[in-house]
Symmetry: C2
Subunit: 333 residues, 2 copies
């Protein structure tokens, strides 16, 4: 069995082989192998492909056993382009760095320790000590999670350890030890309560523009919107206006309205200049982007490939193999 | 009963009166009232004094019921200068902002989100997105707490919610749900394990210079020393050398080797120029200094004064009244 690492995945061969059975051959393929048939003759029916993207405009895909996406989202995958017998799996693990990023920004929004360090000088020390400016705390404040899935729960577990009150808005989650869950039709009641709003829901028809002008209008004047999900959940013009008018206190934006693409390689991240506002902290879609994330993800992928080879049940399946007689996974448990 | 707010405490009259029985008169006295007898004729035997400092070089203190220190430390209080019938109480609450500060710095040490924001530009966005640099995580790392008292436990509760492994070194604390406790004679074994060391012990004869050259030498090359307690627990020269030689990875220093005093009003914070090192983050003893800290502390003080007036048992007593027949506190519970 060969494991083909396509495009970006090829940079993680060491993360994979650290956990992979050494009998499997690891092969790097260029990014084109995901979107054209140029390398299909190298892929055998018993192989695994690891790629964030897969499509075949020709309609002809090679036979292989498993497409393992090294991320959570299937945006880059055209499932219909795969043969029915090809199983598809994904990985998570990103909820850990995203929750760390959210708490880090939330804490620094209140504490501003970085600014203290920037101002610190030996000469200024006596005066800075005598006239210390008090900062803020997250303790006792209310955190609102828009979406209470994997990321929302990871944020909630950490925020509640700080003595924050945690609320979530979700269409099917239930209250738990840390969190009180509001149904979608109570959006405005939920927003009126929160000091920090974390956008942690997927982008769907229901969530596109969910945080619109009326929603921002019911929020507290000091409230901060933290978006680590998809920009379009928050209406761009309404957010910019709320930030400049003082309707809300600030924003932490890690996700953007416009991304580089082949048709538009150098777009600005948004039409509105959020980066010029003093109450907005911008970062380049980095919240999950840690060294440890790839290590954990490729360890999951390696374990899954090892199981595939030995006939064990796969984890993280988003689509089982349909074309060949299914292995009796249920009976194996 | 009058409540005298001395010096710095006078700035918190509103925090106190928000919770104080309105029958008590609140009086501001200048800082001199703590260290001279100049205002003693205004203090009556039934009164309360709220002050971070109290001494009487003359040996003559006025009679009053309660000295309430609006902080945890009694460094500024000469207990022998007080009459035996004067009770002494203190307040805590600082473990909350200190723990938040520690976690904020720890997270940003790994994530560097502030630096990402400083670099973010609309023009740079496509390039920054395509070539994102991975950052670090605290998840799975080992946090060492030098001292496992009120502050150490507050840090441990939060750090463990991030999936950190938490160790502590303490001379009497026991293992608990979050933390494995090492005895003092295992200092080097403890230090060899930790990725982040938080100094959270009081300064005593045993802890002065405890983190010396041999101690720093056993730490990991990427380890970070975070001091939010007292500078002198860490030997100044040894720390500076470890930071410049690469023996450890960095330091977060909020407490200092030299403070402004009446005899030396403008000292530099240390002999060694820690503030010139790129791997040291300096702040001016600010970790606990929050708006909410004073509000919580004066709420505790007000509740205690209300209890004193109604004969209820006092909380936070560090010295009960000795000269007058003690109220039977035990029986009141």
């Amino acid at each position: 069995m060969k494991v083909h690492l396509v495009g970006e995945a090829a940079g993680h061969a060491a993360d994979l082989t650290a956990h992979l059975d050494p009998s499997h051959e690891v092969v790097a393929l260029p990014a084109d192998a995901a979107t054209t048939g140029a390398y299909d003759d190298r892929i055998d029916p018993d192989d695994v492909v690891v790629s964030l993207r897969f499509r075949r405009p020709s309609g002809q895909a090679p036979a292989f056993r498993l497409l393992h996406v090294p991320g959570a989202g299937l945006d880059g995958i055209d499932l219909d382009a795969l043969r029915p017998e090809t199983a598809v799996a994904n990985v998570f693990e990103h909820e850990i760095p995203i929750a760390e990023f959210v708490l880090a920004r939330l804490l620094d929004w209140e504490i501003r320790a970085g600014e203290m360090t920037d101002r610190f000088t030996a000469e200024g020390w006596p005066e800075q000590y005598r006239h210390r400016l008090p900062h803020g705390e997250v303790h006792g404040k209310t955190l609102g999670l828009l979406g209470y899935g994997r990321i929302g729960r990871a944020v909630a577990a950490r925020a509640s350890a700080f003595g924050m009150r945690v609320l979530a808005l979700d269409d099917h989650a239930l209250d738990d030890r840390t969190t009180t869950v509001f149904p979608p039709d109570r959006l405005h009641a939920f927003l009126a309560e929160v000091d920090h709003l974390v956008v942690a829901c997927p982008l769907t028809a229901q969530t596109t523009g969910l945080i619109d002008r009326p929603a921002l209008a019911v929020m507290k004047a000091h409230a901060v919107v933290i978006n680590v999900s998809r920009a379009e959940v928050v209406d761009e013009d309404a957010l910019y206006e709320a930030l400049t008018s003082g309707a809300i206190g600030g924003a932490v934006l890690d996700v953007w309205y416009r991304y580089p693409s082949s048709s538009e390689p150098d777009p600005p991240p948004a039409h509105r200049p959020f980066w010029d506002l003093p109450n907005v902290w911008c970062t380049p879609h980095s919240s999950a982007w840690t060294r440890e994330l790839s290590q954990r993800r490729y360890a999951v992928i390696a374990a899954n490939i090892n199981r595939l080879a030995t006939g064990g049940p796969l984890s993280h399946l988003v689509r089982p193999s349909q074309g060949v007689p299914a292995r009796p996974l249920q009976e194996r448990r």
